[in-house]
């Protein structure tokens, strides 16, 4: 079986995934952007007087890379998961079995569609903060790379959820009970080391923690924890989520009947 089989088919499927969210851009781009700006205004306003963030760094500057990362990962997660679950809901999910496109190509199309949306929402979130905090990224290529990496990982996780979950309630449950808390505990708004007790250790198994810190490092030049370790962890999360999603796709979980 070939890994790459039908480049045009792959491109069209990727285009479909992007075209789909552009058709409903109010919900998919505008809404998350707005909520991120609100976060900046509210948390930035409330927390800047407290002792949070990194010493010597303006809290708003601490917050910007956190929000950018969170915006990217939420959008990236939602794209493939929402797309697949709505196809299940519409009764069109099995269409995907009829295309002469390889499993790797199909997985990549969904993941890259989500990655693109993550990059878009992440970048727009960043741009929206510029009027508040001004422009200032220490390492622009690393900053962009980090948003793409974050988006890719969470698009893979989104694909896994889209395949394994069969309705929107379950997906919203995962978002509310897993992803959102992990963002709060992953250093988006404050340092993980400031969390009480066990929570301060959650970072090591939380994929958001290293990603937020890589983005923050690229933005500020400093971050919490060991940046090299973050890099290694990110790579582990990347491989694990990508490989899992391809295996699930190949097995036809959620799209083929046993």
């Amino acid at each position: 079986m070939k890994i790459f089989y039908n480049r045009l088919g792959f491109t069209v499927l990727l285009y479909r995934e992007i075209h789909r969210f552009f058709k409903v851009f109010i919900q998919t781009i505008f809404a998350p952007l707005l909520s991120n700006i609100l976060y900046l205004a509210v948390f930035g306003g409330v927390l800047k007087t407290r002792e949070v963030g990194i010493e010597g760094v303006n809290y708003l500057h601490f917050l910007v890379p956190g929000l950018t990362t969170m915006g990217a990962l939420m959008a990236a997660f939602q794209n493939p998961s929402f797309s697949l679950i709505s196809q299940k809901f519409q009764g069109t999910i099995q269409d995907i079995n009829s295309y002469p496109i390889s499993d790797v190509e199909k997985s990549l199309a969904y993941i890259l569609g989500g990655t693109f949306r993550g990059l878009l929402v992440g970048s727009l979130t960043y741009i929206a903060t510029v009027p508040f905090v001004g422009f200032g990224i220490k390492n622009i290529p690393l900053f962009i790379f980090s948003i793409i990496l974050t988006s890719f990982i969470f698009a893979s996780i989104g694909l896994i959820c889209g395949l394994t979950l069969d309705n929107f309630e379950k997906m919203n449950f995962i978002l509310a009970i897993v992803i959102t808390p992990l963002s709060y505990l992953g250093g988006v708004f404050f340092e993980v080391s400031k969390l009480p007790g066990v929570l301060s250790h959650v970072g090591n198994i939380n994929p958001i923690y290293p990603l937020v810190n890589i983005t923050r490092y690229s933005y500020l030049g400093i971050a919490e924890g060991n940046i090299l370790l973050h890099g290694i962890l990110a790579f582990v999360f990347l491989s694990a989520s990508f490989i899992t999603s391809i295996i699930l796709f190949r097995k036809g979980i959620g799209i083929k009947v046993r």
């Binding site: 079986m1 070939k2 089989y5 039908n6 045009l8 088919g9 491109t11 069209v12 499927l13 285009y15 479909r16 075209h19 789909r20 058709k23 409903v24 709505s86 519409q90 009764g91 069109t92 099995q94 269409d95 079995n97 009829s98 295309y99 002469p100 496109i101 390889s102 036809g252 799209i255 083929k256 009947v257 046993r258």
Partner: protein, 301 residues
């Protein structure tokens, strides 16, 4: 074109044995009907070919390619019209057919898409989303989707369910045209006259097993050993005048019609007996059994 060897299927959920050791070969250019009651296993068989359902056992060869070893090659050969109508809330008809072409690696397929829309009377719906289509239109859209890549093997799972009579007939015309152009077609339906009118080969599946697989005429022959013959006279007749036909269960209706049952190979003998008697009938008809009767007979037995 299609070879199915020892296919069986037991669904994990419910442990339902939906197919039991199915063997089937379909040659290029055939037009086959797959008949069977609700739950007989028709859709299961089609879904296995489509890659929607994992088979429990057996082997499938489509256009020379093994479904397990070369699944992607088999996709290019097949076009499948599913039984369930999906709803795409987002894309327009035109959009969907263009993307569908792309998935199959075809660029600039607009001319053929136009042709399909025309043939399926969907030209004026090209800018609508499926939500705005009626049930019958959605079904025709599914057919268009299955055809954009000009499949050699077209499989339709109840394509005419919910389609009105006029459009059904235009669909028949269209399918006949595709068949004449060389497309191998397999169709499931609950309208027996549809199978009778379109198909050359009839396969009947019941409780997951093939219980009949014959050319249409042959199937009709087998089950039409006994035929009904009606003679009409222009004068009143009496049953007692027909004692000599005792073996044929003669019945007189409306004083002028004589009904007789006869074995097919005795038909000419019967005619001789009747002409020898010098009976002056003015009309005769021979009722050929309908496929529907045969079918009902089959699944009852």
């Amino acid at each position: 074109m299609l070879r199915i060897e020892n296919i069986s299927k037991i669904y994990k959920r419910g442990h339902k044995e939906a197919l039991k050791n199915i063997n089937l070969t379909i040659k290029e250019g055939e037009f086959t009907a797959l008949l069977g009651q609700n739950g007989a296993g028709k859709t299961t068989l089609i879904n296995i070919l489509a890659g929607n359902v994992h088979k429990t056992e057996g082997k499938v060869i489509i256009g020379g390619y093994d479904l397990d070893k070369n699944p992607l090659e088999t996709k290019k050969i097949m076009g499948i019209v599913p039984q369930e109508i999906g709803q795409d809330y987002i894309f327009t008809v035109e959009d969907m057919l263009r993307k569908q072409s792309g998935y199959f690696g075809i660029k600039n397929n607009d001319d053929y898409i136009d042709e399909l829309l025309e043939a399926l009377s969907l030209q004026d719906k090209r800018k609508s989303t499926t939500r705005q289509l009626s049930g019958g239109m959605k079904r025709r859209l599914l057919i268009a989707k299955a055809l954009v890549h000009k499949p050699k093997l077209l499989i339709l799972d109840e394509p005419t369910a919910g389609v009105d009579i006029e459009l059904r007939h235009s669909m028949y015309k269209f399918l006949k045209k595709l068949h004449a152009e060389g497309t191998t077609i397999i169709l499931t339906t609950h309208y027996i006259e549809e199978a009778e009118n379109l198909c050359k080969r009839i396969i009947v599946i019941d409780h997951g097993e093939i219980i009949a697989d014959e050319p249409k005429e042959k199937l009709m022959d087998i089950f039409s050993q006994e035929i009904d013959v009606r003679f009409e006279f222009d004068y009143d007749i009496d049953i007692e005048d027909f004692d000599f036909l005792n073996g044929y269960e003669p019945i007189v209706k409306n004083n002028r019609n004589l009904y007789i049952k006869v074995e097919k190979n005795n038909l000419s003998k019967l005619m001789k007996v009747i002409t020898d008697k010098g009976l002056n009938f003015i009309d005769i008809d021979i009722k050929r059994p309908k496929l529907e009767d045969i079918y009902l007979n089959l699944i009852k037995s």
